[in-house]
Amino acid sequence: MSVIEVTNLTKYYGKSRGIVDVSFKEEEGEIFGFIGPNGAGKSTTIRLLLSLIHPTSGSAKVFGKDVVTHGPEIRRDIGYLPSEVFYYEGMKVIDLLKYSASFYGKDCTERLHELSEYMELELNRRISDLSYGNKKKVGIVQGLLHSPKLLFLDEPTAGLDPLMQRKFFDLIRKENDRGVTVFFSSHILGEVQRLCTRVGIIREGKIAEISDIRTLQQNNYKKVNVTAAGLNPATFDLPGVTNVQTENGTLHFFFKGDINAVLQKISAIQVADVTIEEPTLEEIFMHYYE
């Protein structure tokens, strides 16, 4: 059963676009990366799934239930870490976390302390005295303390130092091992590459591509670098070659198609060095945005 099932979901804020005709599925136990630049509609999608906003058309199901009609029921098993965290300024961290826990009708005390200790969060400080990174930690503990089955992480690492980021990723992996499904929105590709099994790329409110992270890298462009004396870019004038650049006697280009065609061309010349690599997600990603 799909944990998230989004069908032709569209959201307009008045006349301005939120997302248009977005469809995708996320299976149980997956870590799904949702990538796109700022303003592409990542947060809009998450906010629709949490029914913080209502769809203009289309539908979305979480745990097989419609998000508009079954919101409260669905949210019982959801943890949400927003991209920017805001909490009641006058409250103490511990009181906020207890308030948060009180909604789930179960004892979360042990988990609360466990998580705070792990994230090195001081419980007796006032929210208003916390730095941005520390508020983010409150968000993480708050999102996880009721042991949700589905986690929405909206650009979760912003404001965390590298050490904390690593701890956070370990935590998410551990949760995932216990069977928790994760929906991970980000514009930082490195972290998506590290964590996710499948990615959806969103651009200007529309899904540009959904695929396995491996397939995305394999069925894509190869990055070819050839170093040789007196190299002529016209040598590699083949169908499937793009983005040809010459730099210090090295020729860089992207190639998509039968790699033998390129190999034949290379073997015909005297080369000093050749590398053929898979592109990073970043480069694939940039391609979708050109």
């Binding site: 804020y13 947060s43 906010r47 949490l50 029914s51 913080l52 906003i53 209502h54 919101g71 409260p72 029921e73 669905i74 949210r75 019982r76 959801i78 949400y80 927003p82 991209s83 920017e84 805001f86 909490y87 009641y88 300024e89 308030y99 948060s100 009180s102 909604f103 789930y104 708050q142």
Partner: protein, 269 residues
């Protein structure tokens, strides 16, 4: 209704409730302590007042009140009490859901497993509890002030009770109208100007309606719906106007629920 939200909301407003209650107690006791002087020199006082133009007296609702009687004097103070209660209730009404949105804590609350209707009901009940505490403080300080300073002058208890019972209707009007306006406008950035606007605005309308004797304005403002001099004079409410007041309150509440359950919570921008 969700007990956690209720408790949280109530605590959030506790300080404000205490301040309003103290202010109102001070207002009632301080003003009423002047009653003996007014009562002793009633003739002089009325002569003094008669020198003011009729319009000015009407604006302050003093054209049909006798400041030499306990209830006449009390109804004069009661208008200022009403003004304070109006501002307080509007303040709670305007802030009820808009503070969460402007301080961006709405995301936290609404991503919890509670329905919008539950959130709104819990918040409304918490605000109503806060207003009721203030209401009770007004009751107690009014009775205390009258007992302390009436100096043996008689007053009609049922009339006083009518005045006191009108407070809750009055508060509910401003609470619900404030709430519905806050949901109709796109974003309330700061609550206080709105609350002062609604409270004072209604008061000024009522004062103008006194000056011009215009009927249309009476229909709008709760200060006329629950006009203290009228209640004292007739020992009864102006029933059609009170019904109108209650109807507006109920409609405002119904529309608020309708709007809030369909509302898109604004994100950080």
């Amino acid at each position: 209704m969700n007990a956690n939200i209720y408790r949280h909301e109530f605590r959030f407003r506790l300080k404000s409730v205490i301040i309003w209650s103290l202010a109102l107690t001070f207002l009632i006791v301080f003003f009423f302590s002047m009653f003996p002087v007014f009562a002793d020199q009633a003739a002089l006082m009325n002569e003094f007042l008669a020198r003011y133009p009729q319009e000015l007296r009407a604006a302050f609702g003093m054209d049909n009140m006798d400041l030499s009687t306990v209830l006449g004097f009390y109804s004069f103070i009661f208008m200022f009490v009403q003004l304070c209660l109006a501002i307080q209730a509007s303040n709670y009404g305007f802030g009820l859901v808009s503070i969460e949105e402007s301080e961006l804590t709405a995301d936290f609350l609404l991503s919890k497993p509670v329905s919008r209707a539950q959130v709104l009901t819990s918040k409304l009940l918490a605000a109503l509890t806060s207003l009721t505490i203030t209401n009770l403080v007004v009751w107690v300080s009014s009775f205390a002030a009258i007992l302390l300073f009436r100096e043996g002058r008689e007053y009609d208890m049922p009339t006083l009770l009518l005045l006191m019972l009108s407070i809750v209707i009055f508060q509910l009007f401003f609470l619900s109208v404030g709430l519905v306006i806050s949901l109709l406008v796109k974003r309330v950035r700061s609550v206080t100007p709105y609350a002062l606007g609604l409270g004072f605005g209604m008061y000024v309308l009522s004062a103008f309606s006194g000056v011009f004797g215009e009927v249309a304005l009476e229909l709008v403002t709760p200060f006329k719906h629950l006009d203290a001099p009228y209640i004292v004079k007739h020992v009864a409410y102006n029933t059609p106007l009170v019904l109108l007041n209650v109807a507006v309150t109920i409609i405002a509440l119904a529309v608020s629920y309708w709007l809030y359950t369909r509302r898109d919570i604004p994100a950080v921008s």
